[in-house]
Symmetry: C2
């Protein structure tokens, strides 16, 4: 993909995909077969669920003569014409935690390829976890070019999951709430987060999670931005909310520690200042951008006079 720079250091990960997802092809098996047989077609190479790169790009190989279209998923069309597939794998594990290799990809290939890898990873993982029908227990097989599976016995159709997650800052008098889980590296804090449950709006989930995890009631919840997070297939929905007060009552099974941090502290964390009050996530994660968005919205501190 000539002309694209590698990801900027502050690039949010897994966003900015440029493939045409070509849903008009997916639903027509003859068009899928034609795309698969095209000499232009390429197969994105994965190592298990990890990325493989060559010369600063994701490795893509021509489709081999023994390859079966039914084992592949059509990710889309590059530049509107070259079909890009990925091979479906059987063994994938649960994968709620990014491997080091899937983290470092962000610094290695252009942003749109990071997004392509993320989509492929989520989809390959989902297929690996769905060889059987949840309705009747019989075998399922891919259809719609890998964008669904169908049960051979009860005919139930199953679709890849996308799990919406809220990730949010509570704000109170010029400070925001950051917290840490027990398993995180020492000094590491981030925005609170949690899965949206059936029967909730985004805003209701934000309020419930902050109340559950930190004992803080919030109002005036605003959407900021979103990000797909392919471990295994979340949609991160980033919000800022106003806290009613700053008293904390932590759910200590979830949160080891949390505190209200002022703008100077958050700015220092974003800048990786060694004296920062906490270590924050990398820019590949939406939490970094949520903290940056909040800092940028604050009044700039007065510069020391010369």
């Amino acid at each position: 993909m000539p002309g694209l720079e590698n990801s900027a250091p502050e690039q949010l990960g897994f966003v900015g995909g440029r493939l045409d997802r070509a849903d008009h092809i997916r639903v027509k098996p003859e068009l899928v077969a034609q795309a698969f047989a095209s000499p232009d077609a390429r197969c994105l190479v994965l190592d298990g669920l990890d990325p493989v790169t060559l010369d600063g790009h994701l490795l893509m190989e021509p489709i081999g003569p023994e390859a079966q279209v039914g084992d592949h998923l059509l990710l889309g069309l590059e530049a509107g014409k070259r079909p890009i597939f990925v091979r479906l794998a059987a063994e994938v594990g649960s994968n709620f935690v990014p491997s080091p290799r899937s983290r470092s990809i962000v610094a290695e290939v252009p942003a749109d390829e990071v997004a392509l890898y993320g989509a492929a990873r989520s989809l390959v993982h989902w297929h690996g976890r769905h060889p059987y029908c949840s309705v009747c227990g019989a075998g399922t097989r891919p259809e719609k070019a890998g964008w669904a599976r169908r049960c051979g016995t009860c005919d139930a159709e199953h679709f890849p999951r996308v799990d919406p997650v809220v990730i949010m800052l509570a704000e109170h008098r010029g400070r925001v709430l950051v917290g840490r889980q027990h398993s995180w590296p020492q000094g590491f804090y981030s925005a609170l987060a949690g899965f949206i449950e059936p029967g909730e709006t985004i805003e209701e989930a934000v309020a419930r999670e902050i109340k559950e995890e930190a004992g803080v009631s919030v109002h005036s919840i605003r959407y900021v931005t979103s990000q797909p997070w392919p471990f295994p297939s979340s949609l991160m929905i980033a919000c800022i909310a106003q806290a009613d007060d700053d008293a904390l009552a932590l759910d200590e099974t979830e949160i080891e520690h949390a505190f209200w941090c002022n703008v100077d502290g958050v700015r220092a964390a974003l800048a990786k200042d060694i004296n920062a009050p906490f270590i924050c996530p990398q820019p590949m994660a939406v939490a970094w951008h949520l903290l940056k968005y909040w800092v940028d919205a604050q009044v700039a501190p007065s510069e020391p006079s010369a």
Copy 2:
């Protein structure tokens, strides 16, 4: 639930739940059993997946002596103390279309009960579609008070789905795009919509769907509001986007017809004016509120002079 009015005529459906979801109880089987055994506990009665009402409220019954805690899901605590359960059912079907009974509930019970019914419906439906493990095909059973299922053979854990959907208006020079599917009642139009796919942001999904369905490129996508839609378990994410131009190229397999409507036309549709250029969804649906939000943001037309 004294003191609550029945839903206002313009109430968005399935939002405003008031139960404490009590996630601290879910993970402790002894607390779940204690809640189930409490004389205060109630079981929300469903007729299949449809609601049952009595005197303007959802019907709730005491827990019977033969009832098994393992067949029930803890929806939460009413007023912070009364446990509300729902019984899990085996036969649920696919249920992508709301039944007449599940639509009319919006006018019958208070808004927070509509939300409770929606959450219960999504969860009961999910359990009914997941008696088997998608990883290994063996049987699964509920755990975490019905907020998960676990495979008895491979130990895989499965969680209820929430499927994020974008629903959006493209705007161009004072008009918005509305479209209709082939199966809809004559004259009925709504905002375009579609499922968010793995590897997409909310904004990327909005742009893709409008391009796929109507051939329109958009920019400046803004989030407006969200709604859980329990048929079977969507999270509707409503947005407005600016169209680059107004030329349409419809995907005729998805969209029968679409057109750009001005503010007077949309206002007439919202008011159910018999001369309106289209019939729009009911206020229970977020599409109504998205259209209303857009109309309210336009400059009011000049009143005819007296």
